[in-house]
Point group: C2
Chain length 187, copies 2
DNA sequence: TGTAATATCCTAGGAGTCCTAGGTTTTGGG
DNA sequence: CCCAAAACCTAGGACTCCTAGGATATTACA
C-alpha cells in the first residue's frame, strides 16, 4: 500500500481548494481525508483539529492576497494604485471565495503576528501616499477603504446586486471613482 | 406531561436568540430542541429542516431591521437620515450578530418577495432624496452605501479594527462624514 | 359529554462529522 | 539488515441532521 504523502503544506493547500469549492464553513476533516484517500483519523497526525485547518487556510489566504496586491500595485500611484488594490481584492474573492471568507477568522495574536497581515496593512497605507492625509484621518480612511471594498465584494458574492438591472461592474467603477474623489477631498 | 408549546413563531424567535448567542452557523436543531425541552425529532413537525430555520431567522431579521431603520429615519433628512440609517444598521448588528449575519443568506425569489427586503430597499432610496442624484448614479450610490456600512460593521465585529489605538467610534463618525460629502458631490 | 381527528411529541435508528486511544505498517538512517 | 519515527489504520464515543412510525395530548364536533 502506497502512502498518500500528507504533510502540512499539501494539507493546507488541499483545504484551501476544498474551501473554495464547498465554502469555508463546509470545510470538513472528513472531506479533506477523502480527498487524500485516507481515513479521518490519519489527518490528526498533521493537524490538531479543524480549527487549525481553518486557521492555516486563513494564513495562506492572507499571504496570497498580500502577494497579489503587491504585484498589482507595483509601480502605480494615486487612483491607479487604489484601483489595483481594490481590483486585486475583488479578483481574489471571486477566484477564491473560500479563502476569502477564511480571512475573516479572528487569529490569536501570535498567529496574526506571524502572518502577512502586517504586510497587507503596509500595502494599504501605501495607497494613501498618493493623497494628502495625516493621522488620524489616515486610519479613518484606511478603515473606510477596507470597509467599502470588503462590503462590496461580500454583498456581490451573496448576490445582493443581482436584483437590479445595473451591471455590478459599472457600480464597481463608480465606487472606485467615488473613493478616489473622497480621498482627494477628505472632509 | 405538559406540552412544550412549540409553534412556528416561538421557534423562529428562539432560533434568532440562539443565533445571537452562539453564532448563526452554530444554529443547530439539537440546541433549539434542548431550549424547548423537547427531542430533536419533534421540531420537524414545525419545520422542514435546518435550512428552513435559518431562512426564517433571515426573514425575521430583515423585518426587524427594516422596522428599526424606519423608526430611526422618521422625520429626518440629509445627513441626519444617512446617519440614522447607518447607525440603525450598526446597532442592530451589535445587538443581534446572529440575526445580522443571517440576512446574508441568499433567499429564493418568492421568499425574498414576501420579505421586508423591498421595504428596506425603499428606505435606502429615501436617503438619496436629500441629495441630487439620478439613475444610474442612484443605484451606484446605494450599492456603495450598503457596501461601506455592511463592510464596516462586519470588519468591526470580526475585530478588524482592534489593532490600532484609534477608537472605532471616531472612525465611524468620519466614515459617515465621508459618505455625506460623497453623496453631496457625487463624481 | 364522548369520541374522532389532528397536532404534538416520542423512540429508534441511519448517516455524517469531530476527535481520541491505541495498534500496525512503512520508511529512512545507522 | 534493523529499528525508531512517521504515517496510517481500526474502533468507538459524542454530537448533529433527519426519517419512519408509534404514542399521547388537545381540539372539534356530534
Amino acid at each position: 500500500m502506497v502512502r498518500a504523502g500528507v504533510n502540512a503544506e499539501r494539507l493546507t493547500q488541499a483545504a484551501a481548494e476544498l474551501a473554495d469549492e464547498v465554502g469555508f464553513d463546509q470545510l470538513t476533516v472528513s472531506a479533506l481525508a477523502r480527498r487524500f484517500g485516507v481515513k479521518d483519523a490519519s489527518l490528526y497526525s498533521h493537524v490538531r483539529n479543524v480549527r487549525e485547518v481553518r486557521t492555516r487556510v486563513a494564513v495562506l489566504a492572507l499571504a496570497e492576497l498580500a502577494d497579489r496586491v503587491a504585484a498589482a500595485m507595483a509601480g502605480r500611484a494615486g487612483r491607479d494604485a487604489l484601483a489595483a488594490f481594490a481590483d486585486a481584492h475583488r479578483d481574489y474573492a471571486r477566484r477564491h471565495p473560500g479563502r476569502y471568507t477564511a480571512m475573516l477568522l479572528p487569529l490569536d495574536p501570535e498567529t496574526a503576528a506571524a502572518s502577512a497581515a502586517q504586510r497587507h496593512s503596509d500595502l494599504t497605507r501605501a495607497i494613501l501616499r498618493g493623497y494628502d492625509l495625516t493621522e488620524p484621518a489616515q486610519t479613518d480612511a484606511i478603515r473606510l477603504l477596507h470597509s467599502t471594498i470588503h462590503g462590496y465584494v461580500t454583498l456581490e458574492a451573496a448576490g445582493g446586486f443581482g436584483h437590479t438591472a445595473r451591471p455590478s461592474e459599472a457600480s464597481w467603477i463608480a465606487a472606485l471613482d467615488a473613493l478616489h474623489t473622497l480621498l482627494t477631498n477628505w472632509p
